[in-house]
């Protein structure tokens, strides 16, 4: 085998800290070959970003590094900052997670790319560098690159900025591109675009790519080899097929089974990993995963296992850091049996359909005036955030609203939560039109409809002890003190927390626990309807599963009706009974979950499903994707006819007559099968989701 491009040997990174050293990376070794696509996957705090920043020499000065990073015949750890600067951006380029803060706001993107070219080669003239910048922008798919080169970063959308970052990264034909969570902040359709651009950049420059992510699906489709990190160590390393199809470390097995898969979601419960990763400042003796591992035996708590191939299974096996890897690799312990899975909810427990809806929304509209900057602040336009949304939720059922950011899904539920007369349309809770309510009636009704927010850290008052946070809705309903205390204890246990935790402040809890607090608060008044706005999107994958399982249980036990807002289709398929797909303030496809996701009919639903990554390399590599062009248009823009036609893949292949219909007439939701679809050309749609 040829000399690897990058060879990391026994890399350790320690941050000194007043309360003890934080061992962020502990002895990591891996190689990346020329032109290889290497994926590093891990949860937040696993050391995946720190280990890659170490390669670039971008860690803070107080970081203590040891080990060896060999690149192009040199040990990068022994170079000083000036020597490293010659390599950074020239031989090794990096694409950061947040493209807004990675670009300088006061220079045009063309200048910034040109600067990246000229800084490593002063011989290039200014004009040549600018011309190269335009070329690069064209390569990464920025429309009208000549004009856009003189635009400033804030004039670009998130996805476009990430393209600019990639253009800058490949400006000097690097040999290695490190991409640190490049798509985490982006919508799925944009994520699919960016990953394609990254593949294209790799094909053009022949560079190796090291992709760092928490999303197993993103890795599955692209990476040749995958390293799984946990608590500062690589715990499993192998080809994508090995890691995804024959995982050997229990952590990897659990991680793979804790993410829902858009194809199979909903058929069985997710594996929820108990507990949380250990603090890197105070690691226990032995295997850091032992506390969460159902297979842990005595030796696991004494000795940390090395990353070696299991011996029993023959030479073909890939390395995994587990004392019991032999038993797993040889099949003595079935992979499916490592983590116990709770039984799927019996269909009989579900409330039958046809019950009176507890929440019904008809033709809801919410338009915001767009004010001019002048003294009088005259309206200069209208943002049609929600533009005619209708849905119903029956008791014990879950209705999900999905769509990309900016589609109006959150505005819709916030408008419902106001319990006030909407600008247009009608909101009925348990048959009562909320527009007719008086002040006291409205307060009483609020006990029946409660909300759980996306960012649990922001949704609870940091100055209130958790017990008071959970008791708040009860206080609003004037429940006496003693009853409140009893109910709080009950709720804490219901969501899987200890009742003694009532006196702690929110910052003492982990992200997953905080979201449980949010759910406990939402359930305090025994509501009939629970509105959840992206309740798991801010959480780590292994924690997500626990919350989803909890919500599934609550739905059955309490007969709750839920409105679930999300952008992750797999999670929606896991939990929802019915779904509405939103685009620019409208629901464009609506119906039972199996129908909509089984046979998507609207081109947008098809594109969304096709963009959703599946954590299975075999499927990912053979999928034909429907990749949408461009970004979500601004909701302030007025689009005549069908509002999806500017990005519609179907529209592009239609003949002129058929297009005229799309241009002129705004499609209404029409029944097709069990679902309702707002598209004129459902019958002649040849697009199929792979």
């Amino acid at each position: 085998m040829a000399e690897p491009l990058l060879s990391v040997r026994n890399l350790s990174v320690t941050f000194p800290n007043r309360s003890g050293d934080v061992h962020a990376v502990r002895g990591v070794s891996y190689d990346i070959a020329e032109g290889e696509f290497f994926g590093i996957v891990g949860e937040s705090g696993s050391g995946k970003s720190v280990s890659s920043l170490a390669i670039m020499g971008l860690l803070p000065d107080n970081a203590r590094l040891s080990g060896e990073i060999r690149f192009g015949g040199r040990d990068l750890l022994e170079l000083d900052d000036r020597q490293l600067s010659g390599i950074r951006g020239h031989d090794i380029a990096i694409v950061f997670q947040d493209p807004l803060s990675a670009l300088t706001p006061v220079y045009t993107v063309g200048d910034q790319i040109a600067e990246a070219v000229r800084i490593h080669d002063r011989a290039v003239s200014r004009q040549a560098a600018t011309a190269r910048a335009v070329d690069l922008l064209r390569i990464v798919g920025i429309p009208d690159p000549v004009r856009r080169a003189s635009s400033f970063p804030h004039e670009f959308s998130g996805g476009m900025r990430q393209r600019v970052m990639i253009a800058m990264a490949i400006a000097n034909n690097p040999r290695l591109i490190i991409a640190d969570e490049p798509t985490t902040a982006l919508d799925v359709t944009i994520q699919a675009q960016i990953l394609e651009v990254l593949e294209k950049a790799r094909a053009i420059t022949g560079a190796a790519v090291s992709l760092i992510t928490h999303d197993l699906g993103v890795i599955a489709g692209h990476a040749d080899r995958v390293g799984v990190m946990y608590a500062g160590r690589l715990v499993e390393l192998g080809t994508a097929t090995e890691v995804f199809h024959a995982p050997t470390m229990p952590y990897t097995i659990g991680l793979l089974r804790s993410v829902p898969n858009i194809r199979t979601a909903g058929s069985e419960r997710l594996v929820s990993l108990a507990g949380r990763p250990p603090s890197l400042g105070a690691l226990p003796r032995g295997c850091p995963f032992a506390d969460r591992c159902p297979l842990a035996i005595e030796v696991c708590r004494q000795v940390e296992p090395p990353l070696v191939p299991p011996t029993a299974a023959g030479a073909a096996a890939h390395p995994a850091a587990c004392h019991r890897a032999d038993e797993i690799a040889s099949g003595k312990i079935g992979r499916a049996e490592v983590f116990p899975v709770a039984d799927a909810i019996p269909a009989s427990a579900r409330v039958p359909r046809g019950a009176e809806p507890v929440l019904s929304v008809r033709g809801l509209k919410r338009h915001f005036p767009l004010l001019g900057g002048g003294l009088l602040r005259r309206p200069v336009g209208t943002v049609r955030a929600v533009d005619g949304v209708s849905f119903e939720v029956a008791p014990g059922r879950t209705f999900a609203l999905v769509g990309e950011s900016g589609c109006g899904k959150t505005t819709t539920v916030l408008e419902v939560m106001e319990l006030a007369k909407p600008q247009e349309g009608e909101i009925r809770v348990e048959g009562t039109d909320v527009a007719t309510l008086g002040r006291v009636e409205r307060r009483t009704l609020r006990a029946d409809i409660q909300m759980v927010f996306q960012d649990a850290a922001a949704a609870v008052d940091p100055r209130l002890p958790v017990g008071d946070v959970i008791a708040e809705p009860l206080l609003a309903q004037r429940m006496p003190r003693a009853d409140r205390d009893a109910r709080v204890a009950e709720l804490l246990e219901l969501v899987g927390l200890d009742r003694g935790m009532a006196e702690r402040y929110p910052h003492e809890f982990s992200g997953g626990q905080r979201q449980r607090i949010g759910i406990a608060r939402g359930l305090a008044t025994r509501p009939k309807i629970l509105v959840l706005d992206e309740p798991v999107s801010a959480l780590d994958v292994s924690v997500q599963a626990g919350i989803i399982n909890l919500l599934e249980d609550l739905k059955v036990e309490l007969g709750l009706a839920m409105v679930f807002v999300a952008h992750d289709l797999a999670i929606v398929r896991q939990i929802a009974d019915e779904v509405g797909v939103m685009y620019l303030g409208r629901i464009i496809e609506q119906g039972p979950i199996a129908e909509v996701f089984g046979t998507p009919r609207h081109p947008y639903t098809q594109a969304l499903m096709s963009a959703a990554p599946i954590p299975d390399p075999a499927i990912e590599r053979t999928r034909e994707r429907i990749v949408l062009e461009g970004d979500l248009p601004s909701p302030a823009q007025r689009i005549d006819g069908c509002r999806f036609r500017t990005r519609c893949p179907l529209y592009r292949i239609l003949d002129a007559d058929a297009r005229a219909l799309c241009d002129g007439v705004d499609p209404e939701l029409e029944p097709h099968g069990d679902a309702r679809v707002a598209c004129h050309h459902v019958d002649r749609n040849p697009l199929v989701v792979a």
Binding site: S19, A274, G275, R276, S279, D291, R292, L414, M417, E418, R442, R443, R446, Q450, M451, F453, Q454, D455, A458, A459, V460, D461, P462, R463, L464, P465, G467, D468, E472, P473, A476, Q477, R481, A482, D485, A486, V488, A489, L497, D498, R499, G500, M501, A502, E503, R504, Y505, H507, E508, F509, S510, R521
Partner: protein, 308 residues
């Protein structure tokens, strides 16, 4: 039921958890008090302030001289047996004057400083929370008050309260010192209003007043506490300026600020005239700072002392 608190596995928090009676958990007020109680700075600050207050109230009864008495036998005497803090050029006993000035300054400072902070909190938080036209009107009035010099208002109003007690001076400081802080509070409130927990409280059906009291004020409390602690000291000193121009507290009544000002001209030659009132003022400010720090730590669970 639960007299022992059992922690779930992998629970991130360490340290002792206070015990509570079964079946109920401590609410915010109880927890704040418990945190305060274990804070040494709180007790030092509170004792010091208590000593000062008791001294100001009870001290004069235990001392033969009153602040207006003159001992013509001893003019400009340094500290001695009969005059612990010495005397000034008219034979006034400095110890008696400090006690009297301390009482007046504490009253003026506390009323003025706390009133200003309270007004700033209430007006700023409401303007920020309600937004829209109400906010615009309040902000406009605040700006108007800011451009009219305080001193100018005083000159206009002075004929109406000439000769009345120093309570009026205290009220005057309270009513004229809240504007800048209120604008800071307003800006913070506008940011807080967009937080999900404030939105959540609204969706629970709390009226604006309750939301402001429960969620806005505690979250700007650090700022308010610093403002109050500084404000009290500031009012005590500002009163001196007024006295110099012939408005504030006039002889024969004395204030700490006035004593410090009079004594400062001879600070090097006759230090007792300057030092004793000066140290008393420092003691007030020191106790306020300790109390403010302790209170802030107790209210803000994420501040230094609690982070561990």
């Amino acid at each position: 039921m639960m007299s022992e608190l059992v922690l779930a596995q992998g629970e991130p928090v360490e340290g002792p958890t206070p015990q509570t009676p079964p079946g109920r958990h401590g609410s915010r007020a109880a927890i704040i008090w418990r945190t305060l109680r274990t804070n040494a700075r709180f007790w030092v600050g509170a004792s010091l302030l208590a000593v000062l207050i008791v001294w100001a109230i009870a001290g004069p009864f235990l001392w033969p001289w009153r602040s207006v008495d003159q001992d013509t036998d001893w003019l400009l005497a340094p500290p001695m047996a009969g005059h612990w803090f010495g005397t000034d050029e008219l034979g006034h006993d400095v110890y008696a004057q400090v006690m009297s000035g301390l009482g007046i300054s504490l009253t003026v400072g506390f009323i003025g400083g706390l009133l200003a902070t309270a007004l700033a909190a209430v007006i700023g938080a409401f303007a920020g929370y309600i937004g829209g036209a109400g906010d615009a009107i309040i902000t406009w009035m605040v700006n108007l008050l800011l451009v009219i010099p305080t001193f100018f208002i005083l000159i206009i109003c002075y004929p109406f309260f000439r000769g009345s007690s120093y309570w009026i001076i205290a009220l005057f400081f309270g009513l004229t010192g809240w504007m800048i802080t209120s604008q800071v509070i307003r800006a913070q409130t506008r940011a807080l209003r967009e937080r999900d927990y404030v939105r959540a409280a609204r969706f629970m059906g709390f009226p604006p007043f309750t939301v402001v009291r429960r969620h806005i004020i505690p979250n700007v409390a650090s700022l308010l506490i610093v403002d109050a602690a500084l404000g009290i000291g500031g009012v005590i000193l500002a009163e001196t300026t007024l006295s110099i121009f012939g408005f504030g507290i006039q002889p024969p009544a004395v204030s700490l600020g006035g004593l410090i000002f009079d004594g400062s001209s001879s600070a090097t030659t006759r230090p007792w005239l300057f030092m004793f009132p000066g140290f008393t003022l420092v003691a007030i400010l020191f106790s306020l700072n300790l109390l403010g720090d302790a209170l802030r730590d107790a209210i803000d669970p994420t501040s230094g002392a609690n982070r561990g």
